[in-house]
Amino acid sequence: MKIGILNYDAGNLKSVETALAHLGAKYFVSSDPYELAKSDKLIFPGVGEAQSSMKILKKRGLDIFLREYFKKGNPILGICLGCQIVLDSSEERNTKCVGLVPGNSKEFSHNMDLKIPHMGWNQVQSTNNHYIFKDIPNNSSFYFVHSYYPDPDNQNAVIALTDYGISFSSAFSVDNLVAVQFHPEKSGPHGLKLLDNFISKTQGV
């Protein structure tokens, strides 16, 4: 089993790599859709700005690749920016995104006396026992760094909630896609467990 890590120049992939290596997973990093198509599972990480990241994805044909990979049914884990741009659009410079899941990424309100970015450890409340949270105590804390939050149209897709001024969906899942706003690779033992759940999941179960 080989995991592909999608590289589109959005932030540092090193921490995702070291976490996977620590868990003993076989992985490779690539920005080539043909190479990535050979992977059994895909991690779509990323930190950065939506519009310039979408430009790079399009330029390399990775937006089309993502739609096809999603249709094929192989497991995908979106992290942070990778969680936001699988939705239709983002309020960050009004960007049209990859559109695997209907929804929008919204900006945290600046008039709520909240510091932006939402940076640090915050609790994640799992709402429907999704496999990705298996053996992780509910309301465990994970590490967040973001100024926009994902808002999928179908609320049934939401698998976890987090409070930051408002209650937002910190994780959602549709079919073979799981998307988490926080950084499991930087969230200590619980984060590693979440990645392990993704790696170990047998397809179709």
Partner: protein
């Protein structure tokens, strides 16, 4: 609810963790990689490594340490000390650091903040401010650089606002007056800066007891607190400090 972060700071000189008082005299206290692993086990939220290596030819030692730390601990950590250029930043980020910290170099060349934010994202760019009481300044506090040795003509509050405007993701606010005293953080300064900027502020300098952390969170409005000698030398554990803060109803990650 967003939790208050406890950040352990390790000053690294020639590959060893060291601890000084008021920037004078340093003693080696251990191996930074082993210490990082120990604090990770204790539940620290983040780590900061400051490279205080005097000679530039020994810089490579720090990069090796960063790589080793990145393989062992899975929480965010930042690296500072001697970072002057985008290429310095790139080196530590590629080695596995989540954030880079600039201090004196940002005072001398503020555009390093905006350039760093543009290249690596604002969440990567931490600006350290060494602050000293100075009644000739409008806010009552001025900035010092070069490890506290050189006074510059800069008001602390004005500089903090400028740091935010230039695109930094976080401020580490170090009080030179409180540093090493173990009498508590500079609450008034921390509150003034934290309430004037929209980015997180990490309080630094002066922690001696768990109550000092409670005070800087409650009264100083800090988003995170930096500690060093409390855990390096005085026998406190991160877990013990968090337990205390939890009893004081301060939200921390247990």
């Amino acid at each position: 609810m967003l939790q208050k972060r406890i950040i352990v700071c390790l000053d690294v000189r020639d590959g060893k963790t060291t601890k000084g008082v008021k920037f004078k005299g340093n003693v080696d206290i251990g191996d930074p990689v082993l210490m990082a692993e120990e604090y990770y086990k204790q539940g620290v939220d983040e780590l900061v490594f400051y490279d205080i290596t005097a000679s530039s030819e020994k810089r490579g030692i720090m990069i090796d340490i960063v790589k080793k730390v990145a393989e062992k601990i899975f929480i965010p950590f930042s690296v500072g000390g001697g970072i002057r250029t985008l290429s310095d930043m790139k080196q530590v980020i590629l080695a596995g650091a989540e954030k880079v910290s600039v201090n004196s170099s940002a005072v001398k060349n503020p555009s390093i903040i905006s350039e760093g934010a543009k290249h690596f994202g604002k969440q990567c760019i931490v600006v350290g401010m060494d602050v000293e009481m100075d009644f000739s300044k409008p806010s009552g506090y001025g900035i010092v650089i070069n490890g506290g040795r050189t006074k510059v003509d800069l008001d602390a509050l004005e500089w903090a606002k400028k740091i935010e405007k230039l695109g930094a993701g976080e401020i580490v606010l170090n009080s030179i007056d409180a540093d090493g005293t173990k009498n508590g953080y500079e609450i008034k300064l921390t509150r003034m800066i934290s309430e004037s900027v929209g980015i997180p502020v990490v309080a630094s300098g002066g922690a001696g007891t768990s109550m000092h952390l409670a005070d800087v969170f409650n009264e100083g409005k800090a988003d995170a607190a930096l500690i060093a000698s409390m855990v390096h030398i005085d026998g406190y554990t991160v877990g013990g400090i968090k337990e205390f803060l939890n009893k004081e109803n301060i939200p921390v990650r247990i």
